[in-house]
């Protein structure tokens, strides 16, 4: 059985985010760019936990950069489990998901991402990723 948990761009888990998800902002605009992703599995009955500490420690989602010191800094990104919490989220901080995430679209975890551009030059920057540690999936 292949590992089925991942990120999707819809709550029904029909479109896996196996591409870079775009967050768009106008240069100089104070309006941040917000998007929502969903973490889960379309396999109903499956279960995902942290491999290092199954069912106990929360699954964490971190912002990492492939080019430290250049590109968009990780502190431009805020993560939250609700749109309302984005404003109070700590820039660049990781996000704690439940210790166990069940499969099926009913159990998908919504993850809100806000990009607040601190750079003064336009362009697309692909240096950031949202990463989870090694996970353990138990099939149905």
């Amino acid at each position: 059985m292949a590992f089925s948990f991942g990120f999707f761009v819809d709550p029904a888990l029909t479109t896996p985010a196996n591409f870079r998800v775009a967050i768009r902002q106008a240069l100089g605009s104070a309006t941040p760019g917000d998007i929502c992703l969903w973490f889960g599995s379309p396999v109903v009955g499956s279960m995902c936990e942290l491999d290092a500490d199954p069912g106990v420690s929360p699954i964490t989602l971190s912002v990492v950069t492939s080019t430290p010191g250049s590109g968009t800094p990780v502190t431009d990104i805020r993560l939250a489990l609700s749109a309302a919490s984005l404003g109070s989220a700590t820039p660049g901080a990781s996000l704690a998901l439940p210790a166990t995430v069940q499969g099926g679209s009913d159990n998908a975890v919504a993850i809100y991402v806000r990009a607040s551009n601190s750079l003064t030059t336009p362009g697309q920057r692909d240096n950031l990723s949202l990463v989870m540690p090694m996970l353990l999936e138990t099939p149905p």
């Binding site: 059985m1 292949a2 590992f3 089925s4 948990f5 991942g6 990120f7 761009v9 819809d10 709550p11 029904a12 888990l13 029909t14 479109t15 896996p16 985010a17 196996n18 591409f19 870079r20 998800v21 775009a22 967050i23 768009r24 902002q25 106008a26 240069l27 760019g33 998007i35 929502c36 992703l37 973490f39 491999d51 968009t72 431009d76 990104i77 099926g104 679209s105 009913d106 991402v113 990009a115 551009n117 750079l119 030059t121 336009p122 362009g123 697309q124 920057r125 692909d126 950031l128 990723s129 949202l130 990463v131 989870m132 540690p133 090694m134 996970l135 353990l136 999936e137 138990t138 099939p139």
Partner: protein, 616 residues
């Protein structure tokens, strides 16, 4: 270049076992900061490129020819482009692979990158002569509703702006039909749903407020401005919405039944029998469709059980035993009641004026029905609940009864009626009315939104479906909402064009919406029914008048004079001994199906300020 295994839609890691597996999950971000000055009409060149990722792999260097992206309201966004695959494996990996298209525009230090398409490959056509693969792609618009598992999942696709109603559009957990449910709700959503360039589902209401961009003269392509007036068929004179609520109107009518014995001398001179309790009770309980409310009030002969009566100028005593007196009726009073239902259709309706001349019937007609077992409600009360328990000395403190206790609820008022909503609440009616008006509004607004402005300008991929734009050129001024766009980027010729279609309805607001209020009718029914008078009729009696009695007027105690009586006449009609009780008919007005028209009070607004055309 060998094609990357990253084309696989599967996530990384994993092994082919049936037990627990490990893996990792990550997603890349593309932070696109665009400089709006790139899109200004200032002189100078703009370099345009399209970054294409198929299956997560950048294949931009392999593109050629024309790239086209088409988007419209309530439809899948489609894209088409051509690639030169590097290998058979790569060509085969195109099937169903994810696709993103990012438009990159630069002018000097200014640049803008805009993701314009996120979807998957729908079809691949390979031209082996030229080694070119043409890819047709679309987003997952159709799949998104179909993947919903619950009603709330579908309703969430409209951001709470649709009008779900389980009475009119039921959701079944047993046989879920998310696509059908989505289509039904979409008919009540004054807005549009689509998947944006970034792959995110959007539900945008048909509101036309302040434009996010305005263009004057000189920024559109010459001759690329077109005004499209609504077709005649899109403009009926009005759009009507009707909600019919079928419910039972429950009636209750009561009539007083009274009978009093004749002068006691009749028992002696005519020899007629007394009315006994058994006969009375049998007669009262045998009334077709009527019930006796509570127990009849009966007066029996009382002490001293011997009564002087004048017969032929002499006093003669009529004597009865105490035991017989208890079974003899001197008089009784009973309340007969009848309950019945009348089918009532309450029609709530509204007309939304469109101002058109088309005779096309564009009406919305919906219905709901109160579910109620009227047959059981009408039936008689069980005997154990109607027969009195105590003849004398009832326990102190018993509640006063109404006589209806044995009957199923609801109990309409005496000689009145109630409209019984049963499983439909007043709130359900209001919600169903909103659903109907919402459908009518969508029809009306859709018709008016067929007034459109189409224009082309140099590639400007900033705007999405639902954005409000303003245009003023060639004597035409309009503010409208983007309902569709086509973007063409020709890699070979360098021609890059955005064609936008704006809906510019002749509206009356900046918001498309409504508010309604309805008042449920309350029945104003007052039954005035009367039973025929009951008397005592002695048959075979010389004094019985008329000689040939009207059978329809014979009510009361029907008995016969004894043949040994001097009042006896063998030529007069003799009766079947009985207590004949008459009850009135229910008038048709309160019996036949009834339709009540109730207007819906509503404020309906359609966003838009139309198109101003000058220059004549």
């Amino acid at each position: 270049m060998a094609f990357s295994s990253a084309f696989s839609p599967a996530f990384t890691g994993g092994s082919a076992t049936s037990g627990p597996v490990t893996g990792s999950a990550s997603v890349g971000l593309a932070v696109q900061v665009y400089d709006a000055t790139v899109f200004s009409p200032a002189a100078g060149y703009i370099a345009t490129d399209v970054r294409i990722h198929v299956g997560g792999v950048d294949v931009s260097a392999q593109k050629l020819g024309s790239i086209q992206i088409d988007a419209s309201e309530d439809a899948a966004r489609v894209a088409s482009f051509s690639l030169i695959p590097a290998s058979v494996a790569e060509l085969q990996a195109y099937d169903s692979a994810s696709v993103t298209l990012d438009i990159v525009m630069t002018r000097g230090s200014q640049s803008a990158t805009v993701r314009r398409f996120t979807g998957f490959v729908e079809r691949v056509e390979f031209d082996p002569v030229n080694r070119i693969a043409s890819l047709a792609c679309r987003d997952g618009y159709q799949e998104r509703p179909r993947a919903a598992r619950t009603a709330s999942d579908v309703e969430a696709l409209f951001n709470g702006l649709a009008y779900p109603n389980q009475k009119l559009v039921p959701w079944s957990d047993v046989t879920p039909d998310p696509a059908g449910y989505f289509d039904a709700l979409r008919q009540t959503f004054s807005g549009t749903t689509f998947i944006d360039g970034g792959g995110l589902w959007r539900a945008v209401p048909w509101n036309i407020g302040t434009p996010v961009a305005s263009w004057g003269a000189g920024v559109l392509f010459d001759g690329a401005l077109k005004v499209i007036r609504p077709a005649r068929a899109d403009q009926p004179s009005s759009v009507s919405a009707t909600l019919t609520h079928r419910l039972p109107r429950l009636h209750n009518a009561e009539v007083e039944l009274t009978w009093t014995r004749p002068d006691r001398s009749w028992y002696i001179t005519k020899g007629i029998p007394v009315l006994d309790m058994t006969t009375m009770q049998a007669a009262l309980s045998g009334l077709q469709g009527w019930h006796i409310k509570g127990a009849p009030a009966v007066v029996h002969p009382g002490p001293p059980y011997s009564y002087g009566v004048i017969v032929g100028g002499n006093t003669v005593y009529y004597t009865i035993s105490q035991a017989a007196a208890a079974m003899t009726v001197d008089s009784f009073t009973a309340t007969a009641m009848r309950r019945w239902y009348q089918q009532v259709d309450v029609r709530y309706s509204i007309d939304i004026a469109m101002g058109g001349s088309s005779s096309r019937d564009d009406s919305v007609a919906l219905s709901i029905s109160s579910t109620f077992d009227t047959s059981a409600w009408e039936s008689s009360a069980p005997a154990e609940t109607t027969l009195p328990l105590f003849a004398e000395n009832a326990p102190v403190g018993l509640p006063v009864t109404s006589g209806y206790e044995g009957m199923l609820t609801p109990w309409p008022p005496a000689n009145g009626a109630v409209d019984h909503l049963a499983d439909i609440s007043a709130g359900d009616v209001a919600a169903a009315v909103d659903h109907a008006v919402a459908k009518a509004l969508v029809k009306a607004a859709s018709g008016k939104r067929q007034q459109r402005l189409v224009f082309s300008r140099p590639l400007d991929p900033r705007w999405e479906i639902g954005d409000v734009l303003a245009v003023s050129d060639y004597g035409v001024s309009a503010t409208g909402q983007v309902v569709g766009f086509t973007e063409s980027i020709d890699i070979d010729s360098g021609e890059v064009v955005s064609e936008y279609t704006l809906a510019c309805p002749d509206g009356n607001s900046t918001v498309t919406g409504f508010s309604t209020s309805v008042t449920l009718p309350t029945p104003s029914v007052s039954h005035v029914l009367a039973a025929p008078t009951m008397a005592t009729h002695a048959g075979s009696d010389i004094n019985e008048t008329p000689i040939w009695p009207d059978p329809d007027a014979l009510f009361g105690w029907l008995c016969n004079t004894l043949p040994t009586s001097t009042h006896y006449s063998a030529s007069r009609a003799a009766y079947e001994t009985q207590l004949r009780v008459g009850v009135p008919e229910v008038p048709a007005l309160h019996r036949d199906p009834l339709t009540i028209d109730v207007p819906i009070t509503a404020i309906v607004t359609i966003a838009g300020s139309g198109i101003t055309i000058g220059g004549f």
